[in-house]
Assembly symmetry: C2
Homo-oligomer: 233 residues x 2
């Protein structure tokens, strides 16, 4: 009978699973090659192969003499380095502040339902936040989350933790999608961002997944004059 799955893949899956489930958290040491080899009844080189793949994909880092550790941030998005607006601002040594304008359960409309993978009219949690850099609005973040994903979403205050941070602590993100367009803001948006309705904006529609599961949809709107996306890779 042919083996259904190579042995190293079983080990790989076990490690992936454990990282996803936060059994192993960032910077934590995972079992040594020898330990894994013994536990799974394979040779050291087989365990090595499983680990090597995860290292190549950026999930793990290894230090000779020390061990193997869960990677810090998961270098997952060389795509658009929007990551966390709060961190990004702090990296520039500027002050981040935010106002929570809305936080509620809503019945989703048709386009949102499609993006969120639910049926039209179903309930979803909705948040609307303006992020400021040194007091100046630079991002309007509108987000939809499926209730079963984050039941306590509406109880958050999102003051020192952005929705993005909150969700990524619940679900390590494994995939993301970005759609970028240039738009003119509608009246409400221009008011919230304190810009003119003739000022072009970048609109980024971002969806994030954790282990095949859609975590949330966000629409991020940035004034063109105050923001740009960059990537290098």
């Amino acid at each position: 009978m042919p083996r259904v799955q190579p042995r190293y893949k079983a080990i790989r899956s076990y490690l992936e699973e454990a990282i996803r489930n936060r059994e192993f958290v960032a910077d934590q040491q995972i079992p040594t090659e020898m330990a894994l080899a013994e536990r799974f009844g394979v040779s050291r080189m087989t365990a090595n192969k499983a680990i090597a793949e995860l290292v190549a994909e950026g999930y793990l880092v290894r230090h000779q003499g020390l061990g193997t550790f869960v990677a810090e941030v998961r270098a997952e998005s060389p795509l658009l380095e929007i990551r966390n607006i709060a961190d990004e601002i702090r990296d520039r040594r500027h002050v981040h502040s935010s106002e929570l304008h809305r936080l509620e359960a809503v019945a989703v409309d048709a386009p949102t339902a499609l993006r969120l993978g639910v049926r039209e009219g179903q309930q979803a949690f909705h948040s609307l936040i303006v992020h400021r850099e040194n007091g100046i609005p630079i991002q309007l973040e509108e987000r939809f989350v499926r209730p079963e994903i984050a039941p306590d979403y509406l109880q958050q205050r999102f003051e020192d933790k952005t929705p993005s941070q909150y969700l990524s602590e619940l679900y390590p993100l494994s995939e993301m999608e970005h759609i970028v367009e240039a738009i003119l803001p509608d009246t409400e948006t221009s008011k919230l961002l304190e810009i003119d309705t003739t000022e072009p904006c970048l609109r980024v529609d971002r969806r994030t997944w954790s282990d095949q599961k859609l975590v949330s949809c966000a629409r991020l709107i940035h004034p063109g004059s105050r923001y740009r996306l960059s990537s290098r890779g």
Copy 2:
């Protein structure tokens, strides 16, 4: 005496070099594990390790029973899937056409010099092309190239081959940088793209490198109503 470099790395470097130099071109089979092992006087598993790394990084693909081949497009840019505007349009089963508005040698101004890594006032080749999808302008491509990179640049007609295609045939691209902003077009741009000056546009500044060497700078402007960038990874 300690070995300066692991043996598998020597093999890896050899393969990388050969791919960069177009000794092995896309889809071409590279030497088998056994052949590499013999040539470098190592065991098959050592050759395997070199190949496995390049496969993990997307430079090579392997097919059991067949061999190892240079990867199609180099999955290098999971960042922004702008790739080739002509291919992109054809993938949508639409008609691509383009007009060459300018093709000349110019003395670069200060900001361009900075981006291109030359001194202000030095000569560079400059092209300005409008790309159309089914007759409608969707991209204004302005490009600067250092003369020593592509001495025959000004002799091209860029009819069935875009500058991007032309350059990527000369230099396999190894890295790229994107900066995306939302802008309002100036008068010349709006005229060329046949849009109103109040229509927001995506401006993508893209620089590409081949083996550490800057190949070209391009500024791509898309009407916001007719284009969007997307990425998933």
